[in-house]
């Protein structure tokens, strides 16, 4: 069966050999998972958020396990884009699979500089713009919660990286995700990924203290899947550009749900922690489930939701 998908962007297409990507922050830089499967079998992987300069990240504790999910407030710890380009990217199988750079910055100008720095890099297939991280004080959430700022950032990245497919990653922590989607589409995004984590909190009732040093953090994992499916559905109805769905995907059945809701591709996040071979197994098992159901192509399944 045909697992390949083409994300038809406004400026650039992104061709994937299958719709299974891994989500930023849950798959390291790919190499961490190389002992557990064949990286080049994936549709692609989105690396941990990159910033212009190294970031220390937040004070631990940064993660908390919750029922069917987890909270994180990692705070985008990373060694900076230069280290990634000189030391990590050369080790990644970017000729065989799509390596997508997730980028974060505190200002529109910095976003533009990051985009410009990555534009000429042959090994990077696309940029995923993180305007939705709930764990950083400056920028981050604000960009993702204001359609005007989100459009500004999108435009800055679009202009900074004219040769790349630009994915804008949306936050579910908004009143109308459809409005955000329309705004970034108008500003030039080639595709949209959703959702980032939902803002959450957990308290140790004995000590009466928050379990995260940062007090609040982002909820991910199976617990958020229904919210994510709803977001993908709303966004895909409101825009013409392709949608990459994520949030709580663990099984092939989950993948089909997102695709039927309107996703052209998906990302596997927290499930990588539940089983380090999760993404590799999904790539292997997806065609089996599709053929059982008589589905011959992923593209024809996208948005095939039947209502009424």
């Amino acid at each position: 069966m045909d697992l390949s998908v083409t994300l038809r962007g406004q400026r650039h297409n992104l061709v994937l050999k299958n719709p299974v990507l891994t989500a930023s922050g849950t798959f390291g830089y790919g190499l961490e998972y190389a002992p557990y499967g064949d990286l080049s079998s994936l549709g692609g992987f989105v690396v941990k958020g990159l910033s212009l300069t190294p970031r220390l990240g937040n004070t631990p504790p940064r993660i908390v396990e919750t029922t069917a999910g987890m909270l994180n407030s990692v705070g985008l710890q990373n060694d900076g884009v230069e280290y990634f380009l000189s030391e990590t990217l050369p080790k990644l199988p970017w000729r065989e699979t799509a390596v997508i750079a997730n980028i974060y910055a505190g200002s529109t100008e910095e976003f533009a500089m990051l985009a410009d720095r990555l534009d000429g890099e042959e090994g990077v297939s696309a940029l995923e713009v993180n305007i939705s991280c709930p764990n950083v004080k400056k920028g981050g959430a604000q960009f993702g919660q204001d359609p005007v700022l989100a459009a500004e950032v999108t435009r800055a990245v679009r202009e900074g990286a004219p040769h790349k497919h630009i994915i804008v990653k949306l936050s579910p922590n908004v009143t109308s995700i459809a409005e955000m989607a329309r705004s970034v589409e108008k500003a030039g995004a080639d595709s949209i990924s959703c959702i980032n984590t939902l803002l959450g909190m957990s308290i140790d009732y004995r000590s009466r203290r928050p379990r995260l040093h940062n007090v609040v953090g982002g909820l991910s994992g199976p617990a958020i899947k229904p919210v994510a499916v709803r977001c993908v559905w709303e966004v895909s109805k409101s825009v013409g550009i392709p949608v990459i769905g994520l949030g709580g995907i663990v099984s092939c059945q989950d993948i089909l749900e997102f695709i039927i809701a309107g996703a052209s591709a998906i990302q596997v996040g927290t499930a990588n922690f539940m089983n380090p071979a999760a993404a590799f197994e999904l790539v292997k098992d997806l065609p089996v489930l599709c053929s059982e159901l008589g589905i011959s192509s992923i593209e024809e399944l996208t948005g095939s939701l039947q209502i009424g």
Binding site: G57, P60, P222, Q253
Partner: protein, 288 residues
């Protein structure tokens, strides 16, 4: 295969995928689960024997991520457990029931499947000619079972073991056979002072002999060891117990703060993953 827990059939959610049986990540069967110490309903200490993975190169001090299929979707993370001992026949872990994950581990039955990935992390230094002092607090004894088996000159090794439960709750027998073990049980508050005093004396002596101190246990225990090791200038390694989600260096959730002695200059006074850069650290390279 579907997943049933708490009487709820979660099959309709789709499958929790089983591990692909590659070298590092495999489904192992439970051979047996043996309670230690007081048995019956109150039992909280268990030796978990699993079918052997093929990891000939494991090091004492390394650990595994253990995730029984019965965790379902409800308990997303695997639990990190030290490798107690491993042969070509079996992998033995030893754990204490604390919360919901270890509770469910204690309900495993022979034949059940458990996803396991490892061996993870770096392991303790073995410097065979050097006097070596092992300091274990509670479950911190686990990696030292394998350590004393592996050590080529066990007459250079001794141990101080601080614990709260009765000593027969812990896997001490095979250690006792090989090296002198001073067991200090903490039942009344004064016992803690005694333990701290003993740690101080022994770390001091070990530093004088240019020996090696290796410690594993709860954070307050390690903090005490760290303080003495630094002040006496002892060569010391500590094995940290931080919360972990992935165990492979990807989530950046388990990080600990390094000192300015950390070798890689990018991460001096920064955060590094306990799961991949540790769990064993030289005392002077981390901050408490």
């Amino acid at each position: 295969m579907g997943v049933i827990f708490c009487g709820v059939d979660y099959r309709w959610l789709g499958e929790v995928k089983n591990a692909m049986n590659n070298e590092k990540c495999c489904d192992l069967s439970v051979l047996d689960l043996v309670p230690f110490g007081q048995t019956g309903a109150e039992s909280i200490f268990y030796a978990l024997r699993l079918s052997a993975p093929n990891w000939p190169a494991w090091q004492p001090g390394q650990f595994v991520m253990v995730r029984p299929h019965s965790f379902g979707y409800e308990i997303p993370w695997a639990r990190p457990l030290g490798i107690c001992h491993m042969t070509t026949q079996h992998l033995i872990c030893f754990f204490q029931v604390l919360g919901r994950g270890t509770k469910r581990l204690s309900q495993l039955r022979p034949g059940e499947q458990v996803a396991v990935w490892g061996p993870l992390g770096n392991g303790f230094a073995i410097e065979k000619d050097r006097p070596t002092l092992l300091l274990a607090g509670g479950m911190g004894i686990v990696p030292f079972v394998g350590y004393v088996h592996r050590h080529p000159q066990p007459w250079n090794v001794s141990m101080v073991f601080g614990h709260r439960a009765a000593v027969d709750c812990y896997p001490v027998d095979s250690i006792n056979e090989r090296i002198p073990l001073d067991s200090l049980r903490e039942t009344v508050p004064g016992d803690l002072d005694n333990l701290i005093f003993t740690l101080q004396e022994r770390i001091h002596d070990c530093a004088d002999q240019d020996g090696l101190v290796l410690a594993c246990g709860p954070r307050p225990f390690l903090r005490t060891v760290h303080r003495f090791a630094i002040s006496f200038g002892a060569r010391a390694q500590l094995s940290l117990e931080n919360q972990m989600a992935c165990g492979v260096g990807a989530c950046l959730g388990c990080v600990t703060k390094t000192s300015d002695k950390w070798a890689d200059k990018r991460h001096k006074d920064g955060f590094v993953q306990v799961c991949t850069k540790g769990p064993v650290f030289w005392a002077d390279q981390i901050q408490f």
